[in-house]
């Protein structure tokens, strides 16, 4: 009898949940705090689809959420499946634009030249527009050590497993006055392929000199313990005394991890929105016209510039076959590049675009047709 009643209950509940599911709503307005002010935003009606890098996911979603608050008729979807997949989908014409941690490749890789393939899909050159700058933090877990400075070659040796304890003389040499414990160093790396790993290894290669012998790659080439995604590495460091990793700023902040200052030779630089902006500003643009691919100078010795960062590009067609799509893309990207949105990003672990870059970005977006 008891089972009988259970069964009836289960049946009812199942039917109930089906009924509930039938009238679900996508309208969550009013449940989040609006950050961006209602400026003069161009609204569109309909849906815009983008896919790609997970590094810019939080920034993108924040921008999409604020855009949606001002333009209730517009839906902007972003699927953070990864830069490679995003570009692949863009080339296949499946999404309106892609987000990527690196600009479209101009040389052949596995039989495809991304720039050419994208241009073919668009029927016009595809542009790389830098939109979100995400600093990478060298995060550590050392109770009692709030202030840690690393130079590129010391960082390289730590991440290569050559320096194995925190009180190693080489670390002590760049941290005068800091009492370092004898804890073993445990390096955590991203086990999945990621743009974060690629940019961090680019930094170590460029700034670390002879201390780093590996080529930059999306898959971690050196030693350590592999964890899945940013959440995995930050969780690993958080739960392991002596742990150290490279991770997006937001994860380091959210997990209350220690963040090392970086000294490329021009003095220790703390990671702030301002110091990152300075590094982006110093980056050389090597694209033509409105194709704004940036070459970051990881080895920069400029005082007050934080050198380890990753720029996420929005990859768009310069001329969309469908004028309506062009309007949508322009409207949303204009909003995302606006100072209101960019300033709000610092709170969630990204750095705002410096105004000189923002100007170029706005010009490029305006030129999309």
């Amino acid at each position: 009898m008891k089972n009988l009643r259970f069964g009836q209950f289960a049946g009812l509940a199942l039917v109930g949940s089906l009924a509930l599911a039938g009238c679900g709503s996508d309208d969550n307005s009013g449940s989040g705090g609006a950050t961006g002010g209602a400026g003069d935003v161009a609204c569109f009606e309909g849906t815009l689809n983008a896919e790609g890098s997970s590094a810019q996911k939080n920034a993108f979603e924040e921008a999409a959420a604020t855009y949606n608050e001002m333009c209730p008729g517009a839906t902007v979807n972003y699927n953070p499946t990864g830069s490679g997949t995003g570009i692949k989908q863009f080339i296949a014409g499946q999404v309106d634009f892609a987000g990527s941690d690196s600009a479209l490749k101009t040389e052949e890789k596995d039989g495809i030249v991304e720039t050419d393939a994208a241009a073919e899909t668009c029927g016009s050159p595809a542009w790389n527009i830098p939109m979100v700058t995400g600093p990478i933090a060298i995060s550590y877990n050392l109770p009692g050590v709030d202030d840690l400075t690393l130079t590129p070659d010391v960082a390289a040796e730590i991440f290569d497993g050559k320096i194995t304890t925190w009180n190693d003389p080489k670390i002590a040499a760049v941290n005068a006055g800091v009492e370092l414990p004898a804890t073993d160093i445990k390096v955590f790396f991203r086990s999945d392929e990621s743009g974060t790993t690629e940019n961090f290894t680019k930094y170590l290669k460029a700034a670390g000199g002879d201390a780093w012998s590996y080529d930059p790659a999306k898959a971690w080439p050196a030693s350590g313990e592999g964890k899945e995604k940013s959440s995995g590495v930050s969780e690993g460091v958080k739960s392991t005394e002596g742990g150290v990793t490279y991770v997006e700023w937001s994860y380091a902040k959210d997990n209350d991890l220690g963040i090392a200052k970086i000294d490329n030779g021009g003095g220790a630089v703390e990671l702030t929105g301002e110091t990152v902006g300075k590094a982006v500003e110093a980056a050389a643009s090597d694209g033509e016209g409105n194709d704004l691919r940036l070459t970051l100078d990881y080895a920069t010795q400029e005082a007050g510039a934080y050198p380890i960062l990753l720029v996420t590009y929005e990859i768009v067609c310069s001329q969309y076959a469908d004028a309506e799509t062009a309007t949508k893309v322009k409207a949303f990207l204009t909003h995302m590049a606006s100072p209101e949105v960019q300033q709000g990003l610092e709170e969630i672990g990204y750095a705002p675009l410096p105004s000189s870059v923002e100007e170029k970005v706005t010009t490029a977006i305006d030129a999309i047709s």
Binding site: A13, L14, G24, D26, N28, S31
Partner: protein
């Protein structure tokens, strides 16, 4: 469960009573072994229950408050970022139910017909091969099923990763469970029923459709529900074939569709409490859904005209 009663009736003779025994005289050592074995068995059951209670307890404590909020059952995650509290899981619940329904719609005919073939028609080498392949299909890891459909649907046919591809992979996992449970039920239908039907001149296919399958019907339904319960919690094919989305989607062939497993998989990679709460909430919802299907399956099984 007749064994338990037998054991009680045939309890070993009380110690001290001299019994001529093929196992030798009752010695202290044997009694100790017997008691030890009894303790070990009870202990084993106790150990097995610990993880169940623990995991259900954690999920309930950490996810329960999410389900109490009515928004959970009415809203999607649209416009909600990982830093914001709010939104619901209706997009994922709906996606899971839609995909389950489509999966069932594909698997049930194939599964039941295959079982009918094996029980009513199959003879010889082909039947043995089919039966063997059903076993193999039962054992195919879900990630391999996902990879196969990816190779077929995306790489070869050039289609997109859509909900329908997910249901194809899930159907591969569901078909063998339906075949096996239906087969068992059909075998239980007494031959006298078939004989009586044939004797009345009813053709074989009508006998199967009107006599055999209806007799075994509730047993078959039970098999289908338990099979559904199994595939609903599958995640591996979904991370290959069905990326997550935050909005409600109902189109099987275009765009992405969220499900509870992919919602868990997405939010578990966030560091902040709102996202973690959603992981536990979605886990609890999924477990409840699967439990309910299980209970419903057992409940329907009670009405079965044939008993296993």
């Amino acid at each position: 469960m007749s064994s338990a009663q037998v054991d009680h009736a045939a309890a070993p003779p009380a110690a001290g009573v001299p019994t001529p025994s093929a196992f030798g005289e009752k010695s202290g050592g044997r009694a100790v072994k017997d008691v030890t074995a009894r303790v070990v068995m009870w202990l084993a059951f106790g150990i097995a229950v610990v993880p169940l209670v623990w995991i259900l307890g954690s999920t309930l404590v950490k996810g329960g408050h999410m389900l109490v909020d009515s928004v959970w059952w009415t809203n999607s995650q649209s416009g909600i970022t990982s830093r914001r509290v709010g939104g619901g899981a209706v997009h994922a619940i709906q996606g899971t139910l839609i995909q389950a329904a489509v999966t069932a719609a594909m698997s049930v005919p194939v599964g039941v017909l295959t079982a009918v073939y094996l029980v009513e028609y199959g003879r010889g080498r082909l039947a043995r091969t089919v039966s063997f392949m059903v076993d193999i299909l039962t054992g195919i890891p879900s990630i391999v099923a996902g990879l196969f459909i990816y190779a077929l649907w995306v790489t070869t046919l050039g289609f997109q990763r859509v909900a329908f591809a997910v249901t194809l992979a899930l159907a591969m996992l569901m078909i063998p469970t339906i075949v096996r449970s239906t087969e068992e039920m059909l075998k239980l239908v007494p031959n006298e029923l078939r004989e009586a039907s044939y004797a009345l001149g009813v053709p074989k296919w009508k006998t199967i459709m009107k006599i055999v399958v209806p007799t075994a019907f509730s047993g078959i339904v039970t098999g289908v529900l338990l099979g559904l319960a199994r595939v609903m919690g599958e995640t591996a094919p979904l991370i290959i074939l069905g990326p997550y989305t935050k909005v409600i989607a109902t189109d099987l062939f275009d765009g992405l569709m969220a499900t509870l497993p992919t919602m868990i998989n997405q939010d578990r990679t966030e560091a902040l409490q709102p996202a973690l709460d959603r992981v536990w909430g979605a886990s609890l919802t999924l477990i409840l859904l699967v439990f309910m299907l299980n209970l419903l399956g057992r409940f329907v099984g009670r009405f079965s005209k044939v008993k296993g």
